[in-house]
């Protein structure tokens, strides 16, 4: 039987308003985070793990709502690639999310929920909040920042905006900017949520009706982008769901339909629709070069960190070319960088799944 990794759940209330890229400030910001392992007396062994769009701080401990293992349980723990016997691992819920950190479902100063009054945030704002958490924990320089997908965007943003805070930067299955295609898929999801009558302009919290149908459709569309075509074909093909023949109706005839419906529905149990709007917006606004005068290399000028960039050959959401753009920029400023495109069949989701070569790269980079 697997032993549950011991973790500490905490929250911190920032003592100063968080200044945001929009020009607004967010007051009374709470950050919910988990830690694993022991912080060394000299505080040199901390690794900050950034989660992805619908992830949360429960990176290696059971999810409080679903009871499922942490989303990166296979990567973090005793004797695992991010070894909690050696490292003090921190994972914080991003602002805008709904698992304890301040987001649109939180109470505003007037006592009502923020809803759409919550300010639009950016990836850099999420990073600012986590740097404030590091300050609160008294951690100066991290041994490493690690993230996949949106987590990778945060890792890159931290390296670019707070270069002294991380000695190593591990960015997996990510991109230096959201492409038109990335934005387009997110817009489908947002429109699905906002078209749900239960959305009510975002003020649904006290109405007893939540926009679950819209949120489920958003998740279904996004979920397709996380998988490879070969992966979907291998898993479902054209097989029918619990029936011998097509129904000549609009029931979930195909297994893939049934699977997506289930994924969409299950997602609404654990995620807030407004958070989905805000976080996808933050991702769409992400363009690291734009923040630094239009030249990606300038984002990393003078960086003291070592970098490792990993892509997957079947990831069409953030394809290898995006990782190469990051590597190109790092080369231009002579930053020490490693890059590898790993072969895995699972598409974008490969970073979360059983890919032994990723384990070896993570282990090697963090210990090298």
């Amino acid at each position: 039987m697997a032993t549950v990794l011991s973790s500490t759940s905490s929250t911190v209330l920032l003592d100063k308003p968080l200044q945001l890229d929009s020009g607004q400030a967010l007051d009374r910001v709470t950050i919910a985070y988990e830690t694993y392992g022991e912080l060394a007396p000299d505080k040199s062994n901390a690794i900050l793990v950034h989660h992805a769009l619908t992830g949360d701080q429960h990176v290696a401990s059971p999810h409080p709502i679903t009871g499922k293992p942490g989303w990166w349980d296979r990567m973090i723990g005793r004797g695992k690639p991010i070894d909690t016997d050696r490292f003090f691992v921190i994972c914080a819920n991003v602002i805008g999310s709904c698992m304890g950190s301040t987001g649109p479902a939180s109470d505003a100063a007037d006592g009502g929920r923020y809803g759409m009054r919550f300010p639009v945030i950016t990836i850099r704002d999420m990073v600012r909040a986590q740097v404030a958490l590091l300050d609160a924990l008294g951690i100066g320089q991290l041994h490493a920042v690690v993230g996949g997908s949106m987590g990778g965007m945060q890792a890159l943003s931290l390296a670019a905006n707070f270069p002294e805070r991380a000695a190593r930067v591990l960015a997996i299955a990510t991109t230096p900017r959201h492409s038109a295609q990335n934005i387009a898929f997110h817009e489908v999801g947002r429109q699905a949520i906002m078209a749900d009558p239960n959305w009510q302009g975002g003020d649904y919290y006290d109405s007893g009706n939540t926009p679950d149908k819209g949120l489920a459709v958003a998740r279904m569309a996004a979920h397709i982008t996380y998988l490879s075509e070969a992966g979907l074909t291998g898993k479902f093909g054209r097989r029918l769901q619990d029936r011998e023949a097509k129904s000549f109706g609009f029931d979930a005839d195909f297994q893939v339909e049934s699977y997506l419906r289930y994924q969409g529905l299950a997602f609404t149990d654990r995620f807030d629709a407004n958070s989905y709007l805000y976080i996808t917006r933050a991702m769409d606004y992400f363009d690291l070069a734009e923040e630094h005068g239009g030249r990606l290399a300038d984002a990393f000028a003078g960086t003291p960190a070592r970098f490792c960039v990993v892509s997957f050959d079947t990831d069409w959401l953030y394809p290898t070319a995006e990782s190469r753009a990051i590597v190109h920029a790092l080369n231009a400023v002579a930053a020490p960088v490693s890059f590898v495109e790993l072969s895995a069949p699972y598409g974008h989701d490969s970073f979360l799944l059983e890919v032994p070569s990723l384990d070896r790269v993570v282990t090697g980079f963090l210990n090298g």
């Binding site: 190469r324 080369n331 002579a334 890059f339 590898v340 790269v361 282990t363 980079f365 210990n367 090298g368």
Partner: protein, 196 residues
């Protein structure tokens, strides 16, 4: 640490301590590790095989998975004091263009290659009338990666045509270093230090 291959040992010995070097086709990073650990060289690598890149990362080396034919273009001019290409020139799609890239990203370049005019090659071709298979070129013609075989004399001609300066050259038969005299007959492989 295992002994370096003789051409790599020559290169390691002549890279200035504390300099910046790019090892193109760095394999498992043996040369890079020696350069880093013994000479304080800021060594970077490029390697096409992802598993070899993994092993390099695990040694704490900075290596980019890439195809030298294509990805050398991504480095800025003068990015390195040395660009190193060992036993790889003959696999390039266009060795002449690769040479240009090496001397663009590096102020100097080390290039080593097997000499196709070695007497054993000539004898093999003469006696058997078949493409030579030897200890330095052990793979049959149809599956070899060596698509542009080159001789010492050919290489000298290319350097002259390109106006590239040879700062030094070394010639080997097995482990033994040879004089430059008759190298095109006697050398199994050659190492050149080049500059623009």
């Amino acid at each position: 640490m295992a002994e370096l291959r003789p051409d790599l040992a020559v290169i390691a010995k002549h890279v200035a301590p504390g300099s910046r070097a790019l090892d193109v086709g760095c394999g498992d990073g043996e040369l890079m590790a020696v350069l880093r650990d013994k000479q304080g060289v800021d060594a970077r690598g490029m390697e096409i095989d992802p598993e070899a890149v993994e092993r390099c990362v695990a040694r704490g080396l900075s290596v980019i998975q890439g195809d030298a034919d294509r990805d050398l273009a991504d480095y800025p001019d003068d990015a390195f004091d040395y660009a190193i290409l060992s036993q790889t020139l003959q696999t390039a799609a266009r060795p002449d263009l690769m040479l240009e890239q090496l001397l663009r990203v590096g102020r100097r370049a080390f290039v080593s290659f097997p000499n196709f005019a070695h007497w054993r090659m000539r004898a093999f071709l003469l006696w058997h009338g078949r493409m030579p298979v030897t200890r330095h070129l052990p793979v049959s013609w149809y599956e070899t990666q060596n698509i542009h075989h080159v001789t010492v004399t050919d290489f000298d001609k290319l350097l002259a045509d390109k106006g590239v300066k040879t700062e030094r050259s070394w010639f080997f038969s097995g482990e033994r270093e040879l004089s430059a005299a008759g190298a095109n007959w006697r050398a199994e492989y050659a190492v050149y230090l080049l500059s623009r």
